[in-house]
C-alpha cells in the first residue's frame, strides 16, 4: 500500500514511529495556509455582507466556522466568545486530519493514539484554566460536592472522572478513525473498484462527526467548569 509519509521518512532516515508526527506537521501546514488564505480573502472584500454567488473555499470555511459558533453559543454559557478560538482550532484541525485520511497514500494522523491524547490534554488544560479564571481558587469546590461530610469521597471520584476525560476523548477519536481506515483497507483489498467509494462516503460522515463530537465535548467540559450552580 502506498504511503507518502513513509517515503519521506525513508528519505530522512527516520523510523516508522515518526509517521504521525510527519502527518500532523503536514496537516498543520495545510491548515496554516488555509487560515492565511481565509484572512486575506476576508480583508480583501471587507464589508460585503451578501455573498458574490461563486463557490469558493472562503464560503466553505464560513459555513464551518458558523457551525462551530453555534456549538459554542449553545453550550459554553454567557462568555462563549472567549472559547471560540480553541473550539474552532480543534474543529478545523481535526477535520483536516480526518479528511486527509480519505486521500489515498496519506494515513490520517488522528489514527494514532498519542496524537489524539495530546489534543485531549490540551482540551483538559483549557477547561481547567477556564474554570480557574471563572471561580478563582474556589474552583476546587466544584470537585467537592454539596455536602462537606462526604467531600473526600466525592473528591476522589471527581478526580478519576476528570482524569479519564482526555483519555476517553483521544480513545474515541482513535477508535473511530482507525477502525474506519482498517475497514477501508480491507474492503479495498476485497473489491478493488466500486465498493471502497461507498465506504469513503461513510468515512466522510465519520470524519465530520468525530470532529463535531470532540468539539462538542470540549465545549461541554468548559461549560461544566465555568457554571455557577455548584
Amino acid at each position: 500500500m502506498i504511503n507518502y509519509y513513509n517515503m519521506i521518512l525513508h528519505e530522512l532516515d527516520l523510523g516508522h514511529e515518526w509517521m504521525p508526527t510527519v502527518g500532523s506537521l503536514t496537516v498543520t501546514l495545510v491548515v496554516i495556509g488555509v487560515g492565511f488564505y481565509f484572512k486575506s480573502a476576508i480583508q480583501k472584500d471587507a464589508g460585503d455582507i451578501v455573498p458574490n454567488g461563486k463557490f469558493s473555499l472562503r464560503y466553505l470555511l464560513e459555513v464551518i466556522l458558523e457551525f462551530v459558533y453555534s456549538i459554542g453559543k449553545d453550550n459554553c454559557g454567557d462568555n462563549y466568545r472567549k472559547y471560540l478560538p480553541i473550539l474552532s482550532a480543534l474543529f478545523v484541525f481535526i477535520l483536516f486530519c480526518n479528511l486527509s485520511g480519505l486521500v489515498p497514500g496519506f494515513p490520517p494522523p488522528t489514527e494514532n493514539m498519542s496524537h489524539n491524547v495530546a489534543m485531549g490534554l490540551v482540551a483538559f488544560l483549557v477547561y481547567n484554566y477556564a474554570g480557574y479564571k471563572e471561580h478563582g481558587f474556589g474552583y476546587i469546590k466544584t470537585f467537592m460536592g454539596p455536602v462537606l461530610a462526604i467531600a473526600p469521597l466525592i473528591f476522589v471520584i471527581e478526580l478519576i472522572s476528570h482524569a479519564s476525560r482526555p483519555l476517553s476523548l483521544g480513545l474515541r477519536l482513535t477508535g473511530n478513525i482507525f477502525g474506519d481506515h482498517i475497514l477501508l483497507g480491507v474492503m479495498t483489498g476485497l473489491a478493488k473498484l466500486v465498493v471502497p467509494s461507498a465506504l469513503m462516503f461513510f468515512g466522510l460522515l465519520v470524519a465530520v462527526m468525530q470532529s463535531f463530537v470532540f468539539t462538542l465535548l470540549t465545549a461541554l467540559y468548559i461549560s461544566m467548569a465555568v457554571s455557577h450552580d455548584h
Partner: protein, 103 residues
C-alpha cells in the same frame, strides 16, 4: 443429602486422581490452541450488538418524540448525539480489545 455429598466428593476425587494419572503418562501430546481469534470475534460481536441495540432504541425514541413534537428538534439534537457517542464508545472499547487480542 449426605449420600449426594459423598457421591460428589467421590466424583471429584476420581477426577483429581484421574488428572494425576494422566499427568504421569510420559508421552502425552500437548496441543496448544490459539483461542485469541475466537476471543476477538466474540468481543467485537458482543460490543457491536450492544451498541447497535442501544443506539437503535435511542434513535427510535428520538424519532418518535420528534414526530409528536417537530419543534423540539433543536433542543433534542445535542443530547441525542451525546447519548449515541457514549454508546459508540463502548463498541470502540470492544474494538480496541479485539485489536489488542489479535496482536
Amino acid at each position: 443429602m449426605s449420600k449426594v455429598i459423598s457421591r460428589v466428593v467421590a466424583v471429584f476425587t476420581g477426577l483429581l486422581f484421574g488428572t494425576l494419572a494422566f499427568g504421569q503418562e510420559p508421552e502425552m501430546v500437548v496441543q496448544a490452541i490459539n483461542l485469541a481469534p475466537l476471543g476477538a470475534s466474540v468481543a467485537i460481536g458482543l460490543a457491536a450488538y450492544g451498541a447497535a441495540s442501544g443506539q437503535g432504541r435511542t434513535v427510535a425514541a428520538a424519532l418518535e418524540g420528534l414526530s409528536r413534537n417537530p419543534q423540539a428538534k433543536d433542543a433534542m439534537n445535542t443530547p441525542m448525539i451525546l447519548g449515541l457517542v457514549f454508546m459508540e464508545f463502548q463498541a470502540l472499547l470492544g474494538f480496541v480489545i479485539a485489536y489488542l487480542l489479535l496482536n
